[in-house]
């Protein structure tokens, strides 16, 4: 038996003739990669050479030197001081700040509205659930740009002129030129109040940590919500009193044809904010709903049987688990808001794309302008992704 199988074993043990080198998967992998790289480089150099030639023919000088030149155009709303005499570079920064401003506010508002609508869709209340799902279906199935145009046309076309502005709340006026609202008159007390607020927040964080430790060691939870509220309100109020308790408000006041004083929001900003918030809230509602549904019902039952109230069940048991499902898609919605804010160019809000587009039309520096625009968006996307990944790690399941 053993002797009969020996030659066969030998045959197997003998190394077969090694295959030709081009059949070796490792060699092939290297060849494929070198070829792919060469192809990319070839296409790249071809495009660059043609572009260089085209630029030369058209007499366009490439480079970023134009950023220091005088822009010569005005920007409707700015967060930092800017005049037409400033440089293109500064104009682009103004645009970037406008993009960030509308994106951040829209992210906050859309998260709040989306969460409320998402929870409402799961409500036991039939009518409320149907209303919420009607909202979601409606806003998700109509293009954002259409909604933006609609809001902008509605604000500038249907609202009364500024001389007949509607008073929404005392001191707050809405008209086709936007929203006007009162602001407190600048005073040194505000700086004190802001510092007091920061101090109160830091103190609250330390207090909460101490309270948690105390609960873990003694089983008795010191009052947290009350103390934190008292700290924040008390310290800020104290700073306000110490600063001389300024009560002056700069309210919009009606002069003959228009309003003076106060602060205002442009109709472009209002339309963009409204459109972005309402549209994205529909998507966030779906994310929140699926996140909550992803938590097994047994978790809720177990928490209820421990005697937790409905609100506590949601806060202590369901939400922390739902967040794990919610955070990754929420990240992409935040990215979407930032990218979609570029639709501002269609309704004339001076965001990054709009300002860069004006710069492009004036200077003809297409490649540089579009590269700057894309580079900035990529940086913002990366920053949001990193922040949310960090948060995601915090809420992720800690496995043993």
């Amino acid at each position: 038996m053993a002797t009969r199988s020996e030659p066969r074993l030998q045959a197997i043990a003998a190394k077969p003739a090694s295959p030709a080198w081009w059949r070796n998967p490792d060699v092939r992998a290297v060849i494929y990669q070198v070829l792919a790289l060469l192809l990319v480089i070839l296409i790249g150099t071809y495009l660059v050479s043609i572009t260089m030639h085209n630029l030369e023919v058209r007499g366009i000088r490439s480079g970023f030197g134009y950023l220091d030149h005088e822009a010569g155009f005005r920007v409707g709303e700015t967060l930092i001081s800017y005049t037409a005499a400033d440089s293109y570079g500064r104009a682009i920064i103004v645009g970037l700040l406008n993009t960030l401003r509308v994106s951040i506010i829209a992210i906050v508002l859309a998260t709040i509205i989306g969460t409320v609508v998402g929870i409402a869709r799961l409500s036991k209340n039939w009518l409320l659930a149907k209303l919420a799902s009607g909202y979601v279906e409606l806003v998700r199935n109509i293009p954002l740009l259409l909604q933006l145009f609609f809001w902008y046309s509605a604000i500038t076309g249907l609202l009364p002129a500024v001389s007949a502005a509607v008073e929404l709340l005392p001191g707050i006026y809405l008209s086709k030129s936007g929203l006007m609202y009162p602001v407190p008159v600048e005073s040194p007390a505000h700086l004190w109040m802001a510092s007091a607020f920061l101090v109160a927040v830091v103190a609250s964080v330390f207090y909460t940590r101490w309270a948690n430790r105390r609960q873990e060691t003694t089983g008795v939870r010191p009052p947290v919500v009350q103390v934190v509220a008292l700290l924040i309100v008390g310290l800020v109020a104290a700073a306000w009193l110490a600063g001389g308790a300024p009560t002056a408000f700069d309210a919009p006041a009606k002069s003959r044809f228009t309003y003076t004083g106060g602060a205002s929001i442009s109709p472009e900003f209002l339309a963009l904010l409204l459109g972005l918030t309402i549209y994205t809230a529909g998507f966030i509602a779906e994310i929140v709903r699926s996140g909550i549904l992803a938590v097994p019902w047994g978790q809720t039952e177990a928490a209820s049987s421990l005697g937790l109230r409905r609100g506590l069940v949601l806060r202590l048991v369901v939400l922390p688990q739902a967040l794990r499902v919610i955070v990754p898609p929420m990240t992409s919605q935040y990215l979407n808001i930032t990218k979609n804010s570029s639709l501002a160019v269609a309704i004339g809000y001076p965001d990054l794309v709009s300002v860069t587009n004006t710069t492009l039309n004036q200077t003809g520096q297409a490649i540089e302008c579009i590269s700057i625009m894309m580079g900035i968006y990529l940086t913002i996307s990366l920053a949001i992704s990193l922040t949310m990944n960090w948060y995601n790690k915090r809420v992720a399941l800690v496995e043993r």
């Binding site: 036991k124 209340n125 009518l127 998700r140 199935n141 046309s153 990218k339 570029s342 639709l343 996307s381």
Partner: protein
Amino acid sequence: MSETQAFAETPVAEPTRVDLTRDWVRRRLFDGPWNSLLTILAIAFLVWAVPPALNWFFFDAVWSGGDPAACRGAEGACWAMVHDKYRLILFGRYPYMEQWRPFLGMLVLIAAVAVSCRRANWKLWLAGVWIAAFAVFFGLMWGGFLGMTHVRSELWGGLPLTLLLAMAGIAAAFPLSIVLALGRRSKMPVIRAICVVYIEFIRGVPLISLLFMASFMLPLFLPEGISIAALLRAQIAIILFSAAYLAEVIRGGLQALPNGQVEAAQAIGLSYWQTQRMIVLPQAIRMVIPPIVNTFIGLFKDTSLVAIVSLTDLLLAMRQAVADPEWRVYFVEGYVFIAMIYFVFCYFMSKYSQYLERDLYTGNRRS
């Protein structure tokens, strides 16, 4: 035994329909003070919002007349505007007498979609149907034979243009996205890096910047004397854009496929491409068809962005139609009209995707 019988014999009043309804109302609407408050608020909102909306939309609306004067005194919507302008809204600046061609072409594309919706038709011949549908569509739109006059692509517009951008976008992006998805999962670092950079770059910038790139930078990339139409440039941007998003969807399907499938294919001696073509892709793509439909819905809505680079899609055609000074005040009707068109398309596609999701899950299970 005797107990069950006794129980069975006890006369129990059958709950009537009224009882059931009352019970349902109590459970779903008036379950405690908080819920009751919500219900009352919701009813108050409906009473406040619905009758005026219905009055505006139906009862007080002016439906036809062809004259803005007819709408002057009306309280409700001025559908006369849409009645007067619907050809312009739906077909843009396409020559008026020739508009049966885009209409027919549109029907052909929609018919192709209808054929693709049936799961029994998911065979190779379906690709042939789509090629034929696009050929008929382009033939009709372009013209120049069978007595049809040639119509330049600058004049194409309205709903057919929107459908073309979305459908050709997804169809052309599909093969590219498969290559990208496979490349991103490749073991070769250079190939993987190229695919990752491409996908993340496209997903990191807004579509509008790609459209700007297509309209301002693409002409610089071409040799002298060659120029491509604005429509084709926008179409290229949309294809490159959707390929990156589609690649990520397909990658999800690839990741969900158990590794045993690939190992089994290798064990019976299939090459890499044979494995992908015959084993991996058919299963992976099947799994992600619902998210592909969702990507398509997003793309369909995103095509409206071409309005910003002055292509007369449905949105811009409508805006041009209401720019007529006579009808300008009735812009809301225009927006509502095209919003309904977008809504109908997107709503049915999303319902279809939900149906598929349910259907495919049972289909994957072994009976």
